[in-house]
């Protein structure tokens, strides 16, 4: 009987192969031909020092995987001491700062750690990027996702720790507004239905952070840090140094100021939308950047706009007591010290 070709092939598979003397055995079915015909083999140079080239990893900060982002941050943190003085810091920060608004908490935590580390190593790096920080923190504070909003004050706290003066000089009013709205105190009209107010009751821990940050912000913004530092120095040395330092400001009004971007308010290099100023001039004259510059105007604005509102809100916290009550008490103390 004739069988079909397929049947024959199938049968062949199960037949035992006879080995014959003087003949090579058949190749196995999974045999791979590894022979090649080439005159020369070119092997690419091995890229051995890829680990040192950290700039390649910058794009990983935008990786879709949470773990990758966090690990990249930690990686950078590990290498910080070696790169802190290099050109790499600016791209690193421009990539890392948007992570303030990252969705996952672990990434944000890692970012805070990284920033702390940078602050420890070199404060000036942070000071240089202050304006971007302020923008992104502000964005986070108005973010629609509550957790990001809650965490935003922690970043602000971190910054206040290292470059407090720069921050209040740049964005005193903006940040004050933002923190108060995070607290849910409603600058624009106290709205009880506000979402922030509702969530506030739930997590006391976060509220405490907010209150602490607010206290710190007001303390930095409304008190003369230089004078305090000078007084301390004077107390330590008990020389006439304090007089020198104080008179330094008075005597050298024509020297270049010692903080970065002193003439920023002229907006020589800034791209802003022009017509914004028209409205601001009429409605909110106080918010232009000039008013953030010196201590007196800051105090005046605070006293005029925020003092009463904060006082009123603090009292309720103090009555409730607990952790928040303690922080609120600190704030009240500070306000009493500053504005009496």
């Amino acid at each position: 009987m004739t069988k079909s070709r397929k049947q024959k092939q199938k049968k062949k598979d199960f037949q035992k192969k006879r080995l014959k003397v003087g003949k090579k055995a058949d190749k196995a079915s999974n045999h791979t031909d590894t022979s090649f015909v080439a005159k020369a083999i070119s092997v690419k140079n091995q890229h051995l020092e890829h680990e040192t080239d950290l700039s390649k990893r910058l794009s990983l900060l935008r990786h879709h995987n949470v773990t990758v982002r966090r690990e990249t941050l930690q990686e950078y943190q590990k290498h910080l001491p070696s790169i802190i003085k290099t050109q790499l810091m600016t791209p690193l920060l421009t990539h890392a700062i948007p992570l303030i608004c990252d969705d996952s908490k672990i990434v944000r935590d890692a970012l805070i750690e990284l920033l702390e580390e940078i602050g420890n190593l070199d404060v000036h790096v942070l000071i240089l990027h202050c304006n971007i920080f302020v923008l992104y923190i502000n964005m986070a504070m108005t973010h629609i996702v509550p957790r990001i909003q809650m965490d935003s004050t922690r970043f602000l706290a971190c910054l206040l720790k290292y470059c407090s003066e720069e921050i209040v000089r740049q964005a005193w009013l903006k940040l004050l507004n933002a923190v108060i709205s995070v607290l849910g105190w409603g600058l624009f009209g106290n709205n009880q239905a506000s979402g922030a107010l509702q969530t506030k009751k739930r997590d006391i821990k976060n509220t405490k952070v907010h209150l602490d940050v607010l206290t710190e912000l007001i303390r930095v913004g409304c008190s003369d840090m230089k004078a305090i530092a000078a007084a301390e120095a004077a107390a330590k040395s008990e020389d006439g140094a304090s007089v020198d330092i104080v008179s330094n400001d008075v005597n050298n009004p024509h020297m270049i100021p010692d903080y970065p971007q002193p003439y920023e308010y002229l907006k020589l290099f800034a791209r802003t939308l022009k017509n914004k100023t028209d409205i601001q001039n009429s409605a909110m004259p106080s918010s232009s950047s000039m008013t953030n510059q010196d201590l007196d105007s800051r105090r005046a604005i605070f006293e005029e706009k925020f003092l009463q509102k904060i006082d009123k809100q603090i009292d309720t916290f103090i009555k409730e007591g607990g952790e928040c009550g303690k922080s609120a008490n600190n704030l009240k103390q500070l306000l009493a010290d500053l504005f009496t």
């Binding site: 948007p98 304006n131 923008l135 108005t142 509550p146 933002a178 409603g186 709205n191 800034a270 791209r271």
Partner: protein
């Protein structure tokens, strides 16, 4: 369980928040303000990034340091990340910003500024989003239409410039279409109920300004104007002024856009409106009555077909008139403020001047388009631009490309107020170049048709000897040529029969001439056209003499007898040189029975009466009584009848000036020898639907029993093999076998197998 408060529906995405804010703006004010400040900070970040990006771009142009590359990358990618969020927020705020007008007063301005000043650095998606948001804001009434137009126009210009559109990822084309469509819909909506004259004027002012600039930006103004004209949104003379300016522009594209507008726009607009108006008027009864009256004369199928065509033409004309009454319908050419000046400048700048270097901007097709426009303007408004006629001389040779179009333009440019010697030169040129024995039939036909068109407009354009020569072509063997010559003859029979030879004049014309002679005085002086004479305009009410005639007929039937007698005498007198074929009057001179032949007599009388006294009829009728609506209805019917009769007679129509000369018709009917396939197709087409008249041979329809032949075929082989009819065949002689085979073959062939 604790009661779920509002916190339960706290929004954590933008869409949800948008929904909530729209429902209850007051309660969600705080959230909205939060998002608004979020937008502000995002915008600031975006501005910062954009600045860095452009700065990086400049840097990389200057020096390509490796350090910069990282920077550029980082910033640009950062920008992309925030674009989506920014777009979402812009959409959100523009949706709800009408709820919080005092807080978002600046928002629209910011958007406009972002678009106008930074459009080069914005990504395409964002630009698109801002555009749609602005349109939405306009629909919500937050910004005015003027503001939106002032934003859109500069963008449109910016993106039609070379520099911008060549940039990488600029999406210039998409943006242009988006903006353009937005503009058109905006203007359409603004003019929906009543005309928004303020907006129209400001937009037209922008168009004027654009066209004043020497570069190609004005093209958008021309395009926009044409589109709006087509839709009937702009239909005033200011619009036409814009297009006049465009047509005279020094840029080739814009000038052509203007020219094509004047040539095509009205047709386009009519097409647009024809789609909309599909209501059949109730005039079908009227037409039916008319058909019935003319059916009495019907004798052949051809004549019936002709009648049908004539009726459909008349009806179409009426329909068109009705449809267009709905809006202010002046054609673009009629709305011109200064046609003479415009035409002269058009001719001077684009065609004339003899400066060939300047003319070389346009290729031949474009020059022909300009010629068409100029001649149409001249024909419509009866302008005097004498340069154009000598300009045509250059192009009027049979070998010229598209010469029929030039010829059509030349004919179009003629009217009766042009000095005859100018036109005579033109006609002489056409006759010399085209009409001679040595040329092809089509060429001669085209030349004759052109001359006919010219002469129908300006009867004095030809001298008598030339005309008589040309009419001789009516005996030509070629159908197109003889038709063309006959049509020329027909024109002159109506207009100036004196210029024809005596035998060519035809019956009616000859009658006229004789009548005039008999009445005394100089025949040629009264009948022949003179230069500058106004023949076309009607005085009083058009067709009133028809009504008067009809009334008189109805009132007094007894008088008819006398009139008919008179008529008979006249026809007898001129019976010698009757051609018979061409005239509408049927040969009924010898009919004695007047009462039965009402119709024919009426038509005969009409012809006589019409020529004598339209003015008198006006005095008689309009002076004595007031016309009622019924009178006007009757008048309309009578005019329709006359139209149909004239169309059937094939005589030339009266008002020619505005009619467009069709270049394709000038050549006349050209019949080439058909191929076999074409002939076959035509034959088969004729057989369609006529199966029942064909032969039924070999076709068996329906159920039937087995035929003998089938039975014979199917019979078993074994049963048949012994029969003599089979086995005998083997025993046949060679000769017999051959005979049988031959007979079989012929029989099969005859049966058709």
């Amino acid at each position: 369980m604790a009661r779920k408060g509002r916190a339960a529906i706290l929004p954590n995405n933008i869409i949800l928040l948008q929904n909530l804010v729209k429902r209850d703006p007051a309660s969600y004010k705080e959230e909205f303000l939060q998002q608004y400040s979020h937008y502000e900070s995002l915008r600031d970040i975006f501005m910062l990034n954009g600045m860095a990006q452009s700065a990086a771009g400049d840097k990389s142009h200057g020096s390509d340091g490796s350090g910069n590359v990282v920077d550029t990358n980082s910033v640009s990618v950062n920008g992309n990340a925030s674009v989506a969020e920014l777009m979402e927020l812009i959409g959100f705020i523009s949706q709800v910003c009408s709820c919080f007008p005092e807080h978002t007063a600046n928002f629209t301005n910011e958007l406009r500024q972002l678009l106008l000043e930074h459009h080069q650095t914005l990504p395409f998606e964002l630009k698109e989003k801002i555009l749609t948001s602005l349109t939405m804001l306009r629909n919500k009434g937050v910004i005015s239409a003027e503001q939106l137009i002032q934003t859109l126009f500069p963008l449109l210009i910016a993106y039609s410039l070379q520099g911008n559109s060549l940039g990488l990822n600029s999406h210039a084309r998409e943006l242009r279409t988006l903006i353009y469509n937005n503009l058109v819909t905006l203007l359409k909506n603004a003019n929906l109920g009543s005309r928004n004259q303020k907006l129209n004027k400001s937009t037209q002012a922008i168009c004027f300004n654009l066209l004043e600039q020497p570069d190609a930006q004005g093209l958008w103004a021309a395009r926009l104007t044409r589109e709006l004209w087509r839709r009937g949104i702009w239909d005033d003379s200011r619009t036409i002024e814009i297009m006049t300016q465009a047509a005279l522009h020094s840029d080739t594209k814009i000038a052509l856009a203007g020219v094509m507008f004047f040539l095509d726009a009205d047709r386009e607009r009519e097409e647009t409106f024809e789609d909309k108006s599909d209501d059949e008027e109730g005039g079908s009864v009227n037409i039916d009555a008319l058909k019935h009256r003319l059916e009495i004369n019907k004798k052949t199928g051809k004549r019936a077909k002709k009648l049908k065509n004539a009726i459909s033409t008349v009806r179409k004309r009426g329909l068109k008139g009705q449809a267009n009454q709905n809006f202010l319908n002046f054609s673009a050419i009629h709305l011109l403020r200064d046609p003479q000046g415009f035409t002269e400048r058009l001719f001077q700048t684009h065609l004339g001047g003899g400066n060939s270097k300047r003319n070389s901007r346009f290729d031949l097709g474009q020059r022909i388009a300009i010629m068409q426009l100029v001649s149409r303007l001249i024909g419509t408004h009866k302008l005097t631009v004498l340069g154009i006629y000598s300009y045509f001389h250059k192009y009027l040779t049979p070998k010229q490309t598209d010469v029929t179009k030039v010829m059509a333009a030349a004919a179009q440019a003629c009217h009766d107020l042009v000095p005859p010697d100018t036109l005579q030169a033109l006609v002489r040129r056409v006759a010399d170049e085209f009409v001679s024995d040595g040329v092809a039939n089509e060429v001669a036909a085209a030349g004759l048709n052109t001359i006919r068109e010219i002469c129908a407009r300006a009867p004095l354009a030809i001298e008598e000897p030339l005309l008589q020569d040309l009419v001789e072509y009516k005996g030509s063997k070629a159908k197109g040529v003889s038709m063309a010559a006959k049509s020329l003859l027909g024109v002159y029979r109506e207009v100036a029969p004196e210029m024809l030879k005596r035998k060519d004049r035809g019956k009616a014309a000859a009658l006229d001439v004789q009548e005039r002679k008999r009445k005394g005085g100089d025949a040629t002086k009264t009948g022949a056209p003179r230069f500058g004479e106004d023949r076309t305009s009607t005085q009083g009410i058009a067709g009133l003499e028809l009504l008067a005639q009809w009334k008189r007929d109805n009132e007094a039937e007894g008088e008819e007898q006398d009139e008919a007698d008179e008529w008979e005498e006249a026809s007898d007198a001129s019976g010698s040189d009757v051609d018979g074929d061409w005239v509408n009057v049927d040969s009924d001179e010898e009919t004695p029975d007047k009462d039965t032949d009402m119709d024919r007599e009426e038509s005969a009388e009409t012809q006589e009466e019409e020529k004598q006294d339209p003015a008198q009829a006006f005095l008689e009728l309009a002076g004595s009584r007031i016309l009622t609506p019924a009178d006007f209805a009757k008048l309309k019917e009578l005019r329709e009848t006359e139209d149909v009769a004239r169309l059937m007679g094939g005589a030339a129509r009266a008002a020619r000036g505005e009619e467009i000369v069709d270049a394709d018709r000038l050549v006349g009917p050209v019949k080439y020898k058909q191929t076999r396939e074409e002939r076959l197709a035509k034959v088969l087409e004729g057989r369609e639907g006529r199966e029942k008249f064909g032969s039924r041979k070999g076709k068996i329809e329906g159920q039937h029993s087995t035929t003998n032949r089938e039975k014979q075929r199917k019979k078993n082989f074994v049963m048949m093999i012994h029969k003599r009819s089979v086995s005998g065949k083997q025993k046949m002689s060679m000769r017999d076998r051959q005979k049988v085979l031959r007979a079989h073959i012929t029989k099969q062939k005859k049966r058709g197998y």
